[in-house]
């Protein structure tokens, strides 16, 4: 143990910049991974309640340690390579899915200008990163040398590419109103004296709905989870995966869901702003002021709502048929978004909606 | 910051009108039954006519060059003349091809729409005042052309031609872009007039190499699009493989636009270096004359023969550039217009003879045409004589003007080479005439003419026009001269 600590000391003192960079990199990742574990537990619990079951309740208090137990089990299992599979790509695929989904977190702010990278083109960066994630799925499907996996990958690729367009347009309408691509600026543009009516969900109501639905489709979650489609193609693109690579896919999926749950409030529901902003002016104590002044607890409450909505959808809706998904994306969402981008442009041009307080 | 100026829209009114009309036709065509396709046909013709009227009405005063969108778009005499003839030849394509398309299940709205979009691209191309507009206009034209060549999906020859056209066309666009990027690197501007002001090849110029490379690529890209040897490989296959209606378009209207592009790029932007590009064009012209005329002799397929004849005509066209002065450009423009009108007759005749399931594209298919229908044999003979450059037809005076420009430039040997090859070329044009008049027909029945009376009338008129313009070529040449003479005088 001492030698490990000594080695750590040596490393930090010899490469201070590198250590700091690594530390900064780990800073968002560790909470994210723990968050994913909690989210999986919460999903199973909520679905359990909806099914009038208990959900996980044996490992740890309220079954909280259940996910960790599952993860350790997966990590210790053997990785099975399918016959005639392309081993390099087979292992590269989960990483290629994971890296963009983690990289996207770099620009997520949790307070005014509090982000790992307060990039100017943050919104574009997010779009770019989420569009890269589909490679992991396609490669997994192809490298597995399995028909089910290939079918799942094809479905997923078509679906993600289609819904990205609608998603992109809804982000465009947000940036038209906010006049910035910086996520922190976008939240600040929703500040004002009219409480929650200053947020973008009101002028962009159709876009808000479309954004979140597209987000659900982008993450391949129910009711759009045809990429996995247990009843038709077993488990879709990751049917051949086991052990740690499977855990990585699992982690990616939940990290992406949390990402979408963060973006929906940041873009449309005022991020960390309080829904009663501008209505109450008081200074009581730092631990209650955030209720009207806004702060990260509000953001996390909103995120919690959307994350739960994901679970709620999964428990409520039957799976869409594939052609219905495509129809919804191309024939319903994209036309609506195109029209609403124009409407948003008018709102901005004629000054019906102004950015900022 | 540069502001948008609404007056710019008025400057490009003909183009905007054509765009609006095309979009309207696109929408109307969606709701038409296949039996009502004639509506699209007449609407397209009406759109071309109205655009032509607008171009004519808004023709700028002599010598004026009106710039719009920060010099991206220019309206001057050259653009007006070229646009009028681009619209005219596109209209001929529509008029000639209706029955032909109907017989081949190609009578679809997309044919008209793609041609209209291509026309728009050509109008932008000949009006371009900026390297970006040149490139985009060209792409609008060529992208539509690729699709048009491939329109007959069930024909393997057609698909092969389209793929060849696409691959080589994309290569040519790449070369052109490469040259443009070098010129941008050397001059720091994309505006043709500004490049003209900066680009010279004097020894103390800091960017000599870069400009030289850029110029070479521009010349190569333009030669590809014109079909000058040794960048002609795509031409015979495309001419033969494409539906004849599309061949007519590629061979007439788009050659006029390619001339406009070459002039804008070489004189408009690189005019200061004309000493260098005239040499390159001289080599290209001689090669084109030689390859075009010699290879045409060996052809039995009329469309392929006309393709090689196009190559030789492009050689003549480039000779006009060798002069590097207004009179030379005017001669070249006169030549390209005459070529487009002659090619229209030749391809129109092929379509006249074609039936469902019979292309009439072999020279043998014209055997004994005189016995079957003397009038159209006469029209074809006029076209062939005119293409060969026999006096007193239109083609003769076009060749004469170009040769005059070459001799004025002091390039006597080029003129001699051109005359020698023109005489060699006489052989294969006259062979068609011989086949029509002296060979026995396969079937001696009277030629069954297409139902479309408009087609027959316009084709006859087109043929007679070659005769009429051969007699009274003065006004047209004068118009071409005026377009350039003044354009060269105004300070750029």
């Amino acid at each position: 143990m001492d030698s490990i600590i000594a080695a750590f000391h040596w490393f930090v003192s010899t490469f201070p910049t590198l250590s700091m960079a690594l530390g900064l990199l780990l800073l968002p990742l560790v909470p994210l991974i723990i968050g994913v574990a909690m989210y999986v537990w919460w999903e199973r619990k909520v679905i359990g309640w909806m099914h009038v079951r208990m959900g996980p309740n044996k490992v740890g208090p309220f079954g909280l340690a259940q996910t960790f137990a599952d993860v350790f089990k997966l990590l210790l299992k053997e990785v099975v390579y399918p016959a005639n599979s392309n081993k390099t790509l087979f292992l590269l695929a989960p990483l290629w899915a994971l890296i963009p989904s983690f990289a996207a977190w770099a620009v997520i702010p949790i307070g005014p200008n509090v982000a790992w990278s307060n990039a100017n083109a943050g919104l574009l960066f997010l779009l770019a990163m989420t569009s890269m994630g589909v490679y992991g799925i396609i490669l997994a499907g192809w490298a597995s040398n399995s028909r089910y996996a290939m079918l799942g990958a094809m479905r997923s690729a078509a679906q993600v590419v289609s819904y990205e367009i609608a998603m992109g347009f809804s982000l465009v309408s947000v940036l038209i109103l906010a006049g910035s691509l910086n996520l922190s600026d976008i939240v600040q543009a929703q500040a004002g004296g009219k409480g929650l009516f200053d947020w973008f969900w009101l002028p962009l109501l159709p876009m808000f709905v479309i954004y979140f639905v597209s987000g659900v489709a982008e993450t391949n979650r129910a009711p759009f989870d045809v990429a996995e489609g247990e009843s038709e193609i077993v488990a879709g693109f990751h049917v051949e995966y086991s052990g740690a690579p499977f855990a990585v896919f699992f982690l990616t999926e939940y990290a992406n869901m949390i990402l979408v749950s963060f973006l929906a409030p940041i873009l449309f529901l005022g991020g960390w702003l309080s829904p009663i902003q501008g209505w109450v002016h008081a200074d009581v104590a730092w631990y209650v002021d955030w209720i009207w002044k806004g702060g990260w607890p509000w953001l996390f409450l909103k995120v919690f709502f959307f994350a739960t909505a994901y679970v709620w959808f999964r428990a409520s809706f039957p799976r869409y048929r594939y052609d219905q998904i495509m129809r919804l994306g191309w024939k319903v969402f994209i036309p609506i978004t195109i029209v609403w981008v124009f409407v948003a442009g008018c709102m901005k041009y004629f000054g019906w909606v102004t950015a900022g307080a | 910051m540069i502001q948008f100026n609404p007056a710019d829209l008025a400057t490009m009114l003909p183009e905007l009108f054509l765009l609006g009309a095309t979009c309207t036709i696109l929408l109307i065509d969606l709701f038409l039954k296949p039996t009502q396709r004639d509506v699209t046909h007449w609407l397209s013709l009406a759109a071309l006519l109205a655009t032509g009227v607008l171009v004519w009405r808004d023709a700028p005063a002599q010598g004026a060059s009106i710039a719009a969108f920060n010099g991206m778009f220019l309206r001057d005499g050259v653009a007006t003349v070229l646009k009028v003839f681009v619209l005219l030849t596109t209209g001929l394509v529509f008029l000639y091809s209706r029955d032909y398309l109907r017989g081949r299940k190609l009578f679809v709205g997309e044919f008209y729409l793609l041609l209209l979009f291509a026309t728009l691209g050509m109008m932008l191309l000949v009006s371009a005042g900026n390297l970006v507009t040149v490139y985009l206009g060209l792409e609008l034209l060529t992208l539509s052309s690729y699709a048009l060549v491939a329109l007959n999906r069930d024909s393997a020859v057609s698909s092969e031609a389209a793929i060849k056209y696409f691959v080589l066309g994309a290569l040519a666009s790449g070369l052109l872009l490469y040259g443009m990027s070098m010129i941008y690197g050397a001059t720091g501007t994309l505006d043709l007039a500004k490049i003209h002001a900066i680009a010279d090849f004097s020894a103390n110029s800091p960017h000599r190499m870069l400009l030289a490379f850029g110029l070479v690529f521009l010349v190569v890209g333009s030669a590809f699009k014109l079909g000058a040897a040794p960048f002609h490989m795509w031409l015979p296959d495309v001419y033969q493989g494409a539906p004849t209606a599309v061949t007519l378009f590629v061979g007439s209207a788009s050659k006029i636009a390619a001339f406009g592009m070459t002039w804008r790029l070489l004189d408009g932007a690189m005019g200061g270096m004309h000493v260098h590009w005239t040499q390159m064009l001289g080599v290209l012209a001689v090669l084109s004359l030689a390859i075009g005329n010699v290879f045409a002799i060996a052809q039995t397929n009329l469309k392929r023969m006309l393709a090689y004849s196009t190559i030789s005509h492009v050689g003549f066209l480039l000779l006009g550039f060798v002069n590097g002065s207004a009179s030379g450009y005017a001669a070249a423009m006169f030549y390209v217009i005459s070529y487009a009108l002659m090619a229209a007759v030749a391809f129109g005749m092929i379509m006249l003879l074609a039936r469902a399931g019979f292309e009439a594209e072999e020279i043998d298919d014209f055997k004994g045409l005189n016995q079957r229908n003397p009038w159209y044999a006469g029209v074809m003979a006029i076209a062939m004589f005119s293409l060969a450059g026999v006096p007193p037809l239109f083609g003769f005076f076009a060749k004469l003007m170009v040769l005059k420009a070459v001799i004025d430039a002091g390039q006597m040997w080029l003129a001699i080479v051109a005359i020698v090859f023109a005489i060699i070329g006489l052989y294969y044009y006259l062979r068609v005439v011989k086949v029509m008049y002296f060979d026995e027909p396969h079937d001696a029945t009277v030629l069954e003419l297409p139902r479309d009376r408009g087609f027959r009338w316009v084709l006859s008129l087109n043929g007679l026009a070659l005769l009429a313009l051969g007699v009274a070529w003065g006004p047209l040449l004068d118009w071409c001269d005026r377009a350039f003479a003044v354009a060269a005088l105004i300070p750029r």
């Binding site: - | 979009f117 609008l140 190499m209």
Partner: protein, 211 residues
């Protein structure tokens, strides 16, 4: 040598290496993936040049959409590239000549560069705005016409794609799932009210043995 310069050389080397791999690897899927890497590292070099919008747009459009479809097609076709590669060695000398010519050209350009005047200041920085908004301003003012023409070219591509690919086969039997779902009970079952059948009178009894 600054950190940026090291990054530039690293990304440039990856770009060149990946581009070489695109044309030299055996499997088409690997080639497509190498092309993805080429695009990505190119985007990184652009980021180093402060062209953030172009860099991210490259990743978004080419890596995120175009190459996905490309990969999709390559995987579906299961190409056998060996016949296509047969001419590779034969064409190699020509290819090398072309490459050498290009290289000489590039050297010519570098030779030019040494004589070049200092680069003009970066317009976005000079205007005091971010690269993205400067680009937007330029596109929608100075380059408005080309921008619109580019949109027109995309329209042409769509119009052209329809006659080239849309094929209505006659005589094929396909389902229309949309209509299937719309079906209602009354389309399938017809409930008819009718009087109950009464047993036939006794005279018919003889026929009962032979149903």
């Amino acid at each position: 040598m600054s950190f940026q310069l090291i990054c530039f050389y690293a990304f440039a080397a990856i770009t060149v290496g990946a581009a070489l791999a695109v044309i030299s690897v055996r499997s088409p899927v690997h080639a497509a993936l190498c092309l993805v890497l080429t695009f990505f590292s190119t985007a990184c070099t652009w980021l180093l040049a402060d062209a953030e919008f172009l860099a991210i747009a490259l990743v978004l459009v080419y890596v995120g959409a175009v190459m996905v479809l490309f990969l999709f097609v390559v995987m579906m076709l299961d190409l056998d590239l060996d016949p296509l590669r047969e001419g590779f060695v034969r064409a190699l000398p020509v290819g090398i000549v072309v490459a050498v010519v290009m290289l000489v050209e590039m050297l010519g350009l570098i030779g030019v560069r040494s004589m070049q005047l200092p680069a003009p200041p970066e317009p976005a920085a000079a205007a005091g705005m971010s690269n993205t908004s400067w680009l937007a301003n330029a596109l929608f003012s100075q380059f408005l016409l080309p921008f619109e023409v580019a949109a027109l070219i995309l329209t042409v591509a769509i119009v052209a794609a329809i006659p080239l690919t849309l094929r209505r086969r006659t005589g094929t039997r396909t389902q229309n799932p949309g209509r299937q779902v719309m079906v209602q009970a009354r389309d399938r079952v017809r409930i008819v009210k009718m009087a109950a059948e009464k047993p036939a009178p006794a005279a018919d009894k003889t026929g009962e043995t032979t149903p």
